[in-house]
Amino acid sequence: MRLRLVPQNTKWDFFSRPLLWLGISTALMIAALVSFSIQGLNLGIDFTGGTTIRTESAQPVVVAEYREALTPLQLGDVSIVEVDDLSFTDDQNVTIIKFQAQAGEEAVSADLIRQVQAQLQTVVPDITFVAVESVGPEVSGELITKAVLAVTLAIAAVLIYIWLRFEWQFALGAVAALVHDVVLTIGVFSELQIKFDLAIIAALLTIVGYSLNDTVVVFDRVRENLRKYKKMELKEVLNISINETLSRTVMTSVTTLLALVSLYVLGGDVIRGFVFAMIWGVIVGTYSSVFIASAVLLKLGVKRDWSKPDNTSGNQFSNVDA
C-alpha cells in the first residue's frame, strides 16, 4: 500500500476559470504592494544601519525597565523585544534590543555600545550580551544595492537560460511566476512586519530557485507533450502536462516543507524569519508554477512547428549516457 497524496490519473482542468486564478493572484499582488507602500518593510540593521544587542538574563524580562534604563542615553527609536523559543531553558530570558545608527556618525561607536551595556547592567545585574551587531549607515546602503542587484541578476540569468533552452514565451511565463512569488513574499514580510535582513535576501533567491525548479519541470513536460500531441489545443496540452506532473509537484513540495517546518519549529529563533520566508516561498512557488506560469504561457501561445525531428525525449541531453 503506497501513500498517495494525489490520486492517480487526475484529469483536473486547471484552466476552467483562468480569470479566477489570475484575478486572485493579481489582487494578492496589489495587496502586497499596498501593504509595502503603506507600512514598508521592517528592515533589519543590515539595511538601515544601527545596532542590535541580544541579551540574556535569569530574571524575567520587564521591557519597561529596560526601556527606562536606556532613556537617559537618548538613542532615538529603541525597540526592545522579548524572544521566546522552545529550545530555551526556564531561566533563559532573552531580549533583542535594537536602536538606530546615531545621526552624523558614519562608523560604529564602541563607546555607545559600552554605555548601553553599562546602563542595562544597573537594572539587571546578571544580564549578559550574547550577541552584539552593529552596522554603519555607509555599509548598509551598499548592502541594499547588493541585495537588489543579486535578485535582479538571478532573475535575468534565469530568463536567459530558459529562453535558450525553451522558447521566449516559456521564459516570460517563468519570470511572471517569479515576480509573483517575490512580490507576495515581500508583501507577507511587510504585512506581518517580520524582520527583513540580509539572510532574507538569500531566502528570496532560494524561492526564485525553487519556484523555477517547479516551473521548469512543468514546462519540460509541456514541451514534450507539444511534440507528442501535435494537433491538440494548447490548453489541453497544458492541462495534461500539469496533471501528469502534479504528483511529483506535490511530493517534492511536501518533502521540502517537511524539512523546512522541522527547521522552523526546532531550529531556534535566530533563523526563524529566514525559514519562514522559505516555507512561504515553497507554497507560493508551487502555486505559481501551476497557475501563473502556465496561464501566462497559454495567453502568449507557443510556436508549434518544432524544427527538430520528433523524438520522444527530444532534447539536447537525450544522448547523455548515464
Binding site: 554603519g136 525548479n213 517537511l258 537525450s318
Partner: protein, 553 residues
C-alpha cells in the same frame, strides 16, 4: 538497456566511498580539532602538555579536514574596518614642507620671503613675496618630484605643483594617490595581522575588501571591544619640537604648528611644530618597564637613522622642550637636558601596567599608517553559537527522519533506495565542504536542510516517470529505463536553474549568505549525482538480482 558498465559501477561506488570517507572526521569533531591543533603546535616546535597524546587521538592516515564553523555557530567577532587613506596625504604634505622651505630659502634673492598658508589637508600652499618669480619658484619645487613607484603609474611623478597668483600649491598626483592608497591599505593589513598575532588568538581571518577596507574575523572571543582596542589604536608615536604651552585648543598656534592636548593634564595644550623630528617608524623595540619613580613606563629603542636624527636634534636644542606625541596627544614634554646619543628612551605618563604592556605591543607591531574606522561590528557569544548548532542539529535529524519515512511510505523499495542515496548525499556535502575548507554558517545549515528536502526531487521525478511508463505496460525493465531517460532533461533543467541562483548568491553575497550559497550549490551537485548515478545503480543491481515480473513504484 538496463545496465551500467562494470567500470562505471566501480567509479560510482568509489566516488561515494571517497565522499563519505572525507566527511568522516566531522563525526568526531572535537577529537579531530584537538588533533589538528596539536599537530600544528608540534610543527612549530612546541611540545609537552599532552600535545603528542592529542595528536595521536586521530590516525594520521585518515583525512583530517573539517568543516569550518562560521562565526554565527562558533561565536567570535567580525569587524569591517575602513582605512582612512586620506590621512596619509596630510602626513605626506606635512613632511614635504621642510624640504620645500629649505629649497626655496636658498633662492631668497629671486623669489623673496616665503610663508606657509593655511589650506586643505591634502595641499601645501606657499606664498612668496615676489609674485613675478612665481614660475621660477614653482619649477624649483617641481625639482622635488620623484617618479611614482607602481605598475599603473609609470611615467607619472608623485607631486603636482601649480600656481595661483603669488601662491605655489603642492599636492599629490592622482597616480601617487592611487599608489599611496594601495600601500597604505596593504600596510594597515599587515599591521593589523601582526597585532592580532601578538595577542595570539587562533585562526583569525584578515582580508582586504574592496579598495580601502579590511575584514577581520576572530573566532572564539566573546567581545569585539577588546579586539577593537588592539586593532583600532593607531599608535602613531612622534617626537616634535615644542613652541609653547597654551590653555586652549583654539589659541593661535601659527602656521606650520598645531595645538595638541596633554594626555595627563586636563585643559593643557602644547603648541608643537607639525613636522616631527623622529617618528615611531624608526623604532626597533619597545618594552614595558618602570621609570625611576617606579611608575609603569615604556622603554623604546631607535634604529640607527632614527638614533642619529634624535641625537643630532637633542645636541642642537639643549634646554628647549620637546613633545612625545601618541595619536595626537602629548604624553609628556620633557626639556632636553643633554645630548642623547644612544637612541633609546622612555615614555612616562599616567599609565597602568596593562596600558604599558598594550602600548609596547602596539609600538612593536608598528603604527597604523592611517586611522581605522569601523563600519560593521558583529559579536556572537560562543553560547549562542553552541545553541544554534544544537538547534540546527536537532532540526536536521528530524527533517531527515521525516523525509526518509515519507519517501518509504510513498515509494516502498524504491523509496528505500532514494533514502540510502539521500544519506550518501548529505555525507558527500560534508565531505566536499571539508575538502574545500568552506565555512558552515547558520543559513548554511538551512541550505543543507533545504537540500535534504529538494534532493529527493530528482528521485521523485524519476519514480513518477517510471510509474507513468508502467501504465503503458512496456514491462518493468523498459519502464525503468525510459523513466530515467525521460526524466533526465527535467532534472538537469530544474537543477541548473537553481544552481544559477546559487552561483549568483555566492558572487554577490557576503558572509552568512555566501555560506548558504555554498551549501546550496554543493547540495545541488551531489543530489544530481546521487539521483542519476547512485539510485540508478541500486535499482539496477536490485533488478538484476530479483528479475521481478512486475514492479510497484
Amino acid at each position: 538497456m538496463l545496465q551500467i558498465d562494470g567500470w562505471k559501477r566501480v567509479l560510482i561506488l568509489l566516488t561515494c566511498v571517497v565522499g563519505l570517507f572525507l566527511a568522516l572526521p566531522n563525526a568526531f569533531y572535537p577529537r579531530v580539532e584537538a588533533h589538528n591543533d596539536a599537530v600544528a603546535d608540534l610543527e612549530v616546535g612546541m611540545s609537552g602538555n599532552g600535545l603528542e597524546e592529542l595528536a595521536a587521538g586521530w590516525p594520521s592516515w585518515m583525512p583530517s579536514s573539517l568543516v569550518n564553523l562560521g562565526l554565527d555557530l562558533r561565536g567570535g567577532a567580525h569587524l569591517l574596518a575602513e582605512v582612512q587613506v586620506s590621512d596619509v596625504y596630510k602626513a605626506r604634505m606635512t613632511a614635504t614642507w621642510p624640504e620645500v622651505r629649505d629649497l626655496l630659502r636658498e633662492e631668497r634673492a629671486t623669489i623673496g620671503t616665503i610663508r606657509l598658508q593655511p589650506g586643505p589637508d591634502d595641499e601645501l600652499r606657499v606664498k612668496i613675496s615676489k609674485p613675478d618669480a612665481i614660475q621660477e619658484a614653482a619649477s624649483i619645487v617641481r625639482g622635488l618630484a620623484r617618479p611614482v613607484v607602481s605598475l599603473t603609474g609609470a611615467g607619472a611623478t608623485d607631486i603636482q605643483v601649480s600656481t595661483e597668483g603669488d601662491t605655489i600649491i603642492v599636492r599629490l598626483s592622482e597616480a601617487e594617490r592611487l599608489a599611496t592608497d594601495q600601500r597604505t591599505v596593504q600596510q594597515a593589513l599587515e599591521i593589523v595581522r601582526r597585532r592580532i598575532d601578538e595577542v595570539g588568538t587562533r585562526e583569525p581571518t584578515i582580508q582586504r575588501q574592496g579598495t580601502d577596507r579590511i575584514l577581520i574575523q576572530v573566532p572564539g572571543i566573546g567581545s569585539a571591544s577588546e579586539l577593537k582596542d588592539i586593532i583600532g589604536t593607531t599608535a602613531q608615536l612622534t617626537f616634535h619640537p615644542v613652541v609653547g604651552r597654551v590653555g586652549s585648543a583654539d589659541a593661535p598656534a601659527g602656521v606650520g604648528n598645531q595645538n595638541l592636548p596633554s594626555l595627563d593634564e586636563e585643559g593643557v595644550f602644547y603648541t608643537v611644530e607639525n613636522a616631527p623630528v623622529v617618528t615611531g617608524e624608526e623604532l626597533v623595540d619597545a618594552q614595558p618597564t618602570f621609570d625611576q619613580n617606579g611608575r609603569p613606563a615604556v622603554n623604546f629603542r631607535f634604529n640607527p637613522t632614527g638614533a642619529r636624527k634624535f641625537g643630532d636634534y637633542t645636541a642642537e636644542n639643549i634646554g628647549s622642550p620637546f613633545a612625545i606625541v601618541l595619536d595626537g596627544e602629548v604624553v609628556s614634554a620633557p626639556t632636553i637636558q643633554s645630548h642623547i646619543p644612544g637612541g633609546s628612551g622612555i615614555i612616562t605618563g599616567r599609565f597602568s601596567v596593562e596600558e604599558t604592556t598594550n602600548l609596547a605591543v602596539l609600538l612593536r607591531a608598528g603604527a597604523l599608517p592611517a586611522e581605522l574606522t569601523f563600519l560593521e561590528e558583529r559579536t556572537i557569544g560562543p553560547e549562542l553559537g553552541q545553541d544554534s548548532i544544537e538547534a540546527g542539529r536537532i532540526a536536521c535529524i528530524v527533517a531527515f527522519v521525516g523525509v526518509l519515512v515519507f519517501m518509504f511510505l510513498s515509494y516502498g523499495t524504491f523509496g528505500l533506495f532514494a533514502n540510502i542515496a539521500l544519506i550518501i548525499n548529505v555525507g558527500m556535502i560534508f565531505g566536499l565542504l571539508s575538502v574545500i575548507g568552506a565555512t558552515l554558517t547558520l543559513p548554511g545549515i538551512a541550505g543543507i536542510v533545504l537540500t535534504i528536502g529538494m534532493a529527493v526531487d530528482a528521485n521523485v521525478l524519476v519514480f513518477e516517470r517510471i510509474r507513468e511508463e508502467l501504465k503503458t505496460s512496456k514491462g518493468p525493465a523498459r519502464a525503468i529505463d525510459l523513466g530515467y531517460e525521460k526524466a533526465l532533461s527535467a532534472i538537469l533543467d530544474a537543477n541548473i536553474t537553481t544552481f544559477i541562483t546559487a552561483v549568483i548568491l555566492f558572487a554577490v553575497g557576503s558572509g552568512p549568505v555566501r555560506g548558504f550559497a555554498i551549501t546550496l550549490g554543493l547540495g545541488i551537485m551531489t543530489s544530481v549525482f546521487t539521483a542519476i548515478f547512485v539510485t540508478r545503480l541500486m535499482v539496477i543491481i536490485w533488478f538484476e538480482r530479483r528479475r521481478p515480473k512486475t514492479i510497484e513504484v
